[in-house]
Subunit: 149 residues, 10 copies
């Protein structure tokens, strides 16, 4: 079974079950984006979480097992180097516009190094606003200083 | 004067003055990343902030004026569609890996639409951690529902 | 069901029914381009409109449901970054030739910001002309000023 | 003199003169976007309009002459096949999302053919709206039916 | 039915019938290249010509109908921006080498504008030559002057 | 001296002399497009033609010599794989739409092989037409059959 | 039948028959590389050679026929503009490193023109060498001088 | 001094001296293509050869020294992944058409491995032919079997 | 059978057998990465190793045979020129950052030449470290000096 | 001063001083590749090492300072996504061929995660071998397990 086949089946099961990523987040005790990325085949799920998902979504055993295997990442973007979906593109645009500035501000504060995308977590929240609610995306990654050898 | 020429001169002035983006943020009352993006020529500065920068960094009048003109954005990435700098690339990778998941979680919560990259702000903070401090990037954009006509 | 599968089936049903986008526009009370984009899987249809389409085109329930789900957009262009179809290419060419000028004129009038492609509508009309009728495309999007923070 | 050199000098003269494209449109009796595209080196100006611009902006004779030469178009986008500036990108996105639909609606109305990008004009206007003013872009091009031979 | 499926079936029927494009050109009274482009799914056939083809090639009714629908063009080149087939590549090379020169010569003669690729026809002929026969390709398109507005 | 420098100087001399490619064609006895391609640095001029040009355009000796050197071709398109200029793009589009058809028609007539782009000539002519004059481009290249070994 | 399907079947038949390209070269009296390119669907086989192959490899009649049709070339490289296979890449690298030099040496000897890739043949041979045998690739193409018109 | 600067100066010196690569090949005792590649900055020259060139072309000492430094290769192709010059392109085309076949024939003869592009030499020769002389390019590289570990 | 089909079947057999690449390395006496690359269809296995794998993984005869055929390499990266998987991307990044430096250090030590990627082996090992274990990748390739001819 | 300007000056100073990276490695107590990457502008040098280099290479103060600033990385590869230099390309090829295998072997040993390219070091060594000395490249990076949140 490929991750693409797993993804298709798990998303169909989620639709049948009528549950949201937020609810699956509560059931598994993991972040909603992380649970989604596991089901999209971009992350590996811990065994208990995979089994919990298996129960809630009535998944077959091999699906539960596949959720735990380590993926080759980035496949869900196809061959597109610039994303076409407007929601995802906006984040690409943000980096295009503010990337150099963020780099400077981060490195002025932390020194020469980067924010890890591996020892990393990401949350999405709603901020109420009378002029229109706002999406708040929080990225939290360990600072990794460049080793000089 | 092009934005590229302005950028080169303002960064040199900042280096001479020995100030950080954080300090320029306090002086201007604007976010550090925003101030930096103005100096990198990717944003336009409000008049008072531009003048404040002019004082602190001893900029000539035409530099202060150029800081206020509206830029053509994205030029500082050159022709690179995939960023090569490791710090900036990590954000591209995050979208490649978690993009589809974020989209799903955001739209399940807010409906069909996107997070604005225009009515938008971005902050960088340090989170103390004994295993290594962490970079916290917070993106905050208005939710824009798709108009159906 | 993927949006691609939905698209294929809905277009076939429209062909069998022998109706035009203009007629479907009148039936649903929505713009012809919007209705088409919903059937092409690039927009989500409001429930009533989807049901109305279901009736007129004799669509199965799952097609009516799929018409309402939120799409990942831009898929119908495949991996082509420059469109090959001559009609669509002309709009790409217009931006290549007049893009910088439009940007300048819009920002001189409205300030630093953009025209929204989300809070946006698009109409196509015919202008009679003895030298050959003309296509009039009207794009109408909310102006979004850049937030400075 | 290259069009790029001409563009740089004319834009500087316009800045010194403190006039807007709207004002130059009135002076020359041509559309604001067209006048801008002439100054950006993407269109050729008619002699009288070029001379009028020469007067208002105090341009040298060779600039007035260069404004009238026929350009090689699309140079102002550099080597970027996907535009990076957010305002211009939104129009690219609109085609990515609504392109197939527009094509269908236009051809259902007019037959097999395209909207000309040569026998073509484009206007930008402001639509007052209490929820935020709107940008209205009107494109008007002759319909060209495919010759069958 | 997609144009790709139509193309495959019509080409197979042509092979069975053992006729050339030249013969189909005579039967339909249309140019050989145009008839071929209709069968390749890159042009729409007029009803009488489609029916004539249907007779000669014993095509089913839905093939005859599909031949008349308006195509999304350029699909037959796949995702290749530079053609790989040597015969087709040579025309791309000709533009790469002589393109700027042709543009200059055409515009010096006709003014600022282009040759239409829509109100356009193309013929292929053989020129006898003792040193090796020659291929003569004649392209004939209406000159479209740039509208200035 | 590079071909780019030569090109810039020769075009300036042609402008000063106020002659057209058509007139230079008559003076040199060569095709207008060929003369232009020599001056654009995409072809090498025969000695007599180069000297004739030198006289008419008052070129320095090293320019006359450079016109005769063998060029590295295709440089005048820069790094653009898809041309942006609308006049040149139309020929690219023609190949995208009619390329497979032309190939078929040519090979059905001549056998497996190609039209040479080296033993090749190209002319541009005007065809009077009350509905708008037409551009006629004639390409004439030797047929080269594939050697089977 | 597509060339891709033909290729798959002929290669399977060759494997079953346990013959080498060298042996097929002897049987058909054609070069080993040419025979292989015919079976890979990149060249058309002469009738007698195709029939000879049909006998030796026990091919069906439609395979023998398909071997003789004229291919659209370059398909076997997929969409890869830079080859990934190390053996094939080395030839691409050789052109990248020695291309400009070869061009100069050839044109100094032959004049302005190219080596034909159509009236062309290619052989592979082994050169014994105690330090490790060597691959000798000989390319032999007609020199085609640029026609000046 | 960069290799690009060296290249420009050495080629100018060669032009002044009025010598061919063939003559420089005899003077240095090295292959004509190799000498050219050294002067184009794509290969390093052995000290004696560099000094010999220095004498014949009256090069300054730092040019003679630069000829011996190790280059970063492939720069002379710029950013072009597909070569535009027709002579060089033909070799790219040959690999596109015959690459898979050559690979097969070589590996059937030599086993799993490649032809080295490093322990490699390349010669160009003229083959007299009444129907038009032929270019013969001979590539000779050591076979390198894949190490299995 | 294609290498892709072989890969899918062998990986499934390995999963069923519950063995690691390390264990298969011991069984076959070959490096773990090499064994894996054989099963991924990027290397050819020696007969004994292939048979050993056939036993341990209960592979059919044609799988054992296919493991020994010579692959066309690089297919497992699809059309991606920049790898998207974070683990693989890091090695691409390392070359982007340290490539020019490595080249310089290697050539200063060994002379003008390269490290072979054919007469080459690669090992992965774990280095215990209290601050977090480390991955040690050792690449070992024969130095190949450029042949000067 | 840009990193590119710094690089050019430091490399010239190194050449004048006649020292190798190995010697600079000993002087500074840092790895040869790291010192080179600092001078190439791809890494930041620690203050003492930068000063040490300043002494040995007689660098001006602003060069010593620039060596310590944090670079935007990857610039030295220009816009090339596939490296053209043969030595550097071979490492790209290794990833293309063995990347998926390495990933599998590393993750089977360490779990789901990656090798850090930041907390990382790289050494180059010579391995004596009678059949030709070998280049040994050792990469050593911390294993970073994916955080699950």
């Amino acid at each position: 079974m490929t991750k693409a086949e797993m993804c298709e089946k798990v998303l169909a099961a989620k639709k049948s079950a009528g549950v949201t990523w937020q609810q699956l987040s509560e059931v598994t005790g993991m972040g909603a984006v992380y649970v989604a990325s596991g089901c999209y085949g971009e992350s590996s799920m811990p065994p208990e979480a995979a089994e919990k998902l298996g129960e809630v979504l009535s998944l077959s055993d091999d699906l539960v097992e596949e959720l735990q295997t380590y993926p080759t990442k980035g496949w869900s973007m196809g061959a597109k180097v610039v994303p076409t979906d407007p929601l995802i593109y906006r984040f690409y645009e943000i980096m295009s516009v503010y990337g150099a500035s963020m780099k400077d501000v981060i490195q002025e504060e932390f020194g020469d190094g980067i924010m890890s995308a591996i020892d990393f977590k990401l949350d999405v929240a709603r901020e109420k606003d009378p002029k229109g609610d706002r999406v708040v995306v929080t990225m939290n990654g360990k600072f990794l200083p460049y080793k000089k050898w």
